[in-house]
């Protein structure tokens, strides 16, 4: 009964999505106030029904209703409750339902937080999102129904993939999807503005906070995924340029470009067409990412599904969304207009150069991800494009972008002068060069790549200090330093924080790549191995029973200069239902290093293969991501996005001729 209710709720949600699309877009086109006003409650109604469907599926998971095919293949009666709930998005159908739920959350957020926007704009935005929602609901109902029943009813479920039975995996998909789907708001604003034929600073201002929040969620989502891979896959890597990782990374890169491009459009009215294109592509890449993962085109850890019907639907949907938006874009470009002019050396050009680099980086990742598929499809042979390719290409494209990060925020809008910038940045540059040359010696061994990475990171940090200092010095008020700092808008601090996050991230990547070390040893009770100044003593292995697995748990005693530091318990688990062995690494995290111990094969009654790793500054990678996301949230919470617009402003918008 409950699953049928869920199914019914989804069907009703589809009806409401149709209504939302028509009422929103046609209502705005006809200028029909009643239709436009109806778009809001219809959207909220859709949210209610999708939430009911989601609740029904969760209920089936919690009550172990194995008559539901999806539950039977992704859960088990021995699975602990939190993982039964996370099992809802542990497979293809449920992930789509989660996607839909997130879309409804964002749509409802638009209805709640956009009260000060003109009705026409809100109606169009909701209409566009309604169309997207139609596509997803159709996809779910026709090819990926999570509520399908199974007969005969199996006595127990086939269990959730053990890799996914982990707290990181519980949080990773919701965060990632919040980000992915969040770009649909930026997309909807762009399409709405195109439909209205009015792309201006107001449009950019309205979509900025939405884009930034979506980007922050995506940042956290990707970081969680990387962190999960680090501790759950058991080999200590944190990014493998797997197609699925790339699929989430591309929208992030374009989203980063979009945030900066929106800044130019809002402040100076320039490069509107470029901003619109970025908004379209950020969402298109999110769709592509969801679908690359979901269609089973790629074979990797995340690709659960293989079904041609799904692939075809996806391709058609993608073509409609991207093709339709680009057609609309092409038909309106003549009306977009140029905006304020600027010199080749100005903050605008620095930001746009960064945009070009970010877009090129996205293009390169896309090229590397799709190239093997294309070659294979054309019958030109099978190749692999892996970390060596991406590392080389990505670092080369991003290094200049990181350098520009230090310069751009200091350059003036409209017209900047290079000699002036050089004078203002000379100390920051000097400090970073000297530090980058000397620091590697202090860390052990000098290498050009480490030095370059540190140079870029310190450069970003040092130039941020210069920026803040100049800002305080140039503040108009005559008050003291603290008062000036207090009047600086949050958006500015958000930018500084996010840029510092990038610096922290670069430090982490550079140092872990440059100085990580590992040893593979065979150990019996009492044996010791030394790595990075730590002594690891193997104190034996005992058997442990988990709720749905048995494990061999080793005890490792870690000391440094004779002093006990900690005890670590790496495990080798066998999950009973799927009979799959899993390596559960033990990690001792630290500010300047992680100790990482994983248990390999058993070589005899007491002898085991053990891999110990010393990973300097690895946590800075995710710490940096967290700072970036916090910076984004801080910027999005800036007062000027929250001020209810004055009457004059709304009238100004309504009265202005479309051009």
């Amino acid at each position: 009964m409950i699953p049928e209710l869920g199914q019914f709720a989804l069907a009703l949600a589809l009806c409401l999505a149709l209504a939302q699309g028509v009422l929103g877009i046609a209502g705005a086109a006809r200028g029909d106030r009643i239709w436009m006003a109806a778009a809001r409650p219809v959207t909220q109604g859709q949210f209610v029904f999708v939430a009911i469907a989601f609740g029904c599926l969760t209920y089936s998971f919690v009550t172990n209703d194995f008559s539901v095919s999806y539950v039977a293949s992704h859960s088990n009666s021995a699975l602990p409750l939190p993982y039964r709930i996370a099992g809802v998005w542990g497979g293809h159908e449920g992930s789509l339902l989660l996607w839909m739920l997130m879309l409804c959350v964002w749509m409802t957020a638009v209805t709640v937080f956009s009260r000060h926007l003109p009705d026409e704009m809100v109606a169009r935005v909701l209409g566009v999102m309604g169309l997207v929602s139609i596509g997803f609901l159709l996809f779910m109902l026709f090819t990926s129904n999570p509520f399908l029943r199974l007969f005969p009813i199996p006595p127990d479920g086939r269990d959730l993939n053990p890799l996914l039975q982990d707290p990181g995996m519980v949080m990773h998909p919701p965060m990632l999807y919040m980000g992915y789907v969040g770009f649909s708001v930026a997309f909807a604003f762009a399409i709405a503005a195109l439909l209205a034929g009015r792309l201006d600073a107001t449009w950019a201002r309205w979509s900025r906070p939405w884009t930034t929040v979506a980007w922050a969620f995506l940042t956290v989502g990707i970081a969680l995924g990387s962190w999960w891979a680090y501790y759950e896959l058991g080999w200590g890597g944190w990014w493998f340029w797997d197609p699925v990782e790339n699929a989430s990374f591309m929208p992030w890169l374009i989203g980063t470009a979009l945030i900066h491009s929106l800044a130019v459009t809002e402040k100076r009215g320039s490069f509107r067409s470029w901003t619109v294109l970025l908004a379209i592509f950020a969402f298109a890449l999110s769709l592509l990412g969801t679908f690359l993962v979901r269609s089973g085109v790629l074979t990797s850890v995340h690709a659960f599904a293989t079904d041609p019907a799904r692939g075809v639907f996806i391709l058609i949907f993608l073509s409609v969304v991207i093709g339709g938006s680009l057609l609309l874009f092409a038909s309106r470009t003549a009306r977009i207009g140029l905006g304020g002019g600027f010199e080749p050396v100005s903050r605008e050009s620095f930001l746009l150069t960064n945009n070009v680099l970010l877009a090129a980086a996205t293009g390169s990742v896309l090229l590397g991800t799709l190239y093997p598929l294309a070659l294979d499809a054309l019958g030109l042979g099978k190749i692999s494009v892996g970390p060596p390719y991406f590392d080389a290409v990505f670092a080369a494209v991003m290094a200049p972008a990181l350098f520009l990060m230090g310069v751009g925020p200091l350059a003036r809008w409209k017209k900047a002068s290079l000699p002036d910038l050089a004078v203002r940045l000379r100390w920051a540059f000097g400090v970073s060069v000297v530090a980058a040359l000397l620091l590697p010696f202090a860390l052990g061994q000098w290498s050009a790549l480490v030095s370059l990475g540190l140079l870029l990171a310190i450069w970003i940090a040092a130039s941020s200090v210069v920026q803040l200092r100049e800002r305080v010095r140039n503040a108009a008020s005559g008050a003291g330093v603290w008062a000036r700092l207090a009047t600086t808008p949050r958006a500015y601090y958000g930018m500084l924080l996010a840029h510092l996050g990038v610096a922290v991230f670069v430090v982490g990547v550079t140092l872990v790549k440059g100085y990580e070390s590992e040893r593979d040893v065979r150990m019996g009770p009492g044996d010791t191995v030394e790595l990075g100044g730590y002594v690891f003593r193997f104190d034996g292995v005992r058997e442990v029973n988990g709720p749905n697995y048995v494990a061999a748990r080793a005890e490792i005693h870690v000391s440094r200069e004779g002093k006990t530091m900690t005890r670590m318990y790496p495990e080798k688990r066998i999950y009973r239902v799927q009979n799959q062995p899993m390596t559960e690494a033990a990690i001792d995290p630290g500010f300047t290093r992680d100790l990482y111990v994983s248990l390999g094969d058993s070589l005899g009654p007491t002898q085991w293969v053990v891999r110990v790793q010393h990973k300097p500054f690895v946590d800075w990678i995710w710490g940096g991501c967290l700072l970036m996301a916090l910076g984004g949230l801080l910027a999005a919470s800036d007062r000027r996005y929250r001020v209810a617009s004055s009457r004059a402003r709304e009238q100004a918008y309504a009265a202005a001729p479309a051009r």
Binding site: W235, V397, R522, T528, V643, A656
Partner: protein
């Protein structure tokens, strides 16, 4: 007396445990092992979903690593070993695709993207400078003033 004996035995056991030796590396030759690690990190485990030969625990991967180790012991160079693997498994085994006609676009693509992107940017910038400044009409000026009224002092 008995308790003393037990204590003595326990102490001996503890002592033995504490004397545990320095653990032996899994590999006999650490230098060769490092070379193997570096090389196999760039090779694909053919039966895994997307894992390098270095990271994989699959049987075939272990077997291939043993083969590579053996060839290294025989004095073969990395190039010879890679050539052998490619002749057996094709380019699919390489995570760094070789530069040939079919991969030309893959390797040149990023460079082309940057050059084309920057060229387009500079072209537009130079054209834009010649474009005359836009004159605002009276109503547009009004609207601009209204829009700027509550945000003029912020200048991010």
């Amino acid at each position: 007396m008995l308790s003393k004996a037990i204590t003595f035995v326990l102490l001996m056991v503890l002592a033995v445990a504490a004397w545990g030796k320095e653990a032996a590396p899994v590999a006999e030759d650490p230098v060769l092992e490092r070379r193997l690690q570096t090389l196999s990190a760039e090779l694909r485990c053919l039966v895994c979903q997307n894992e390098s030969l270095a990271g994989s625990r699959a049987e075939l991967a272990v077997d291939l690593r043993n083969q590579i180790r053996e060839r290294m012991r025989q004095g073969q160079s990395d190039e010879e070993i890679v050539d052998y693997l490619v002749s057996r498994y094709g380019d699919f085994v390489l995570y760094r695709p070789p530069l040939k006609l079919t991969t030309l676009l893959l390797w040149l693509g990023p460079l082309l993207l940057i050059v084309a992107g920057l060229a387009a940017l500079f072209y537009r910038l130079s054209r834009r400078r010649e474009a005359p400044a836009i004159e605002l009409t009276g109503s547009e000026r009004e609207r601009a003033r209204a829009l700027l009224s509550d945000s003029g002092r912020e200048r991010l």
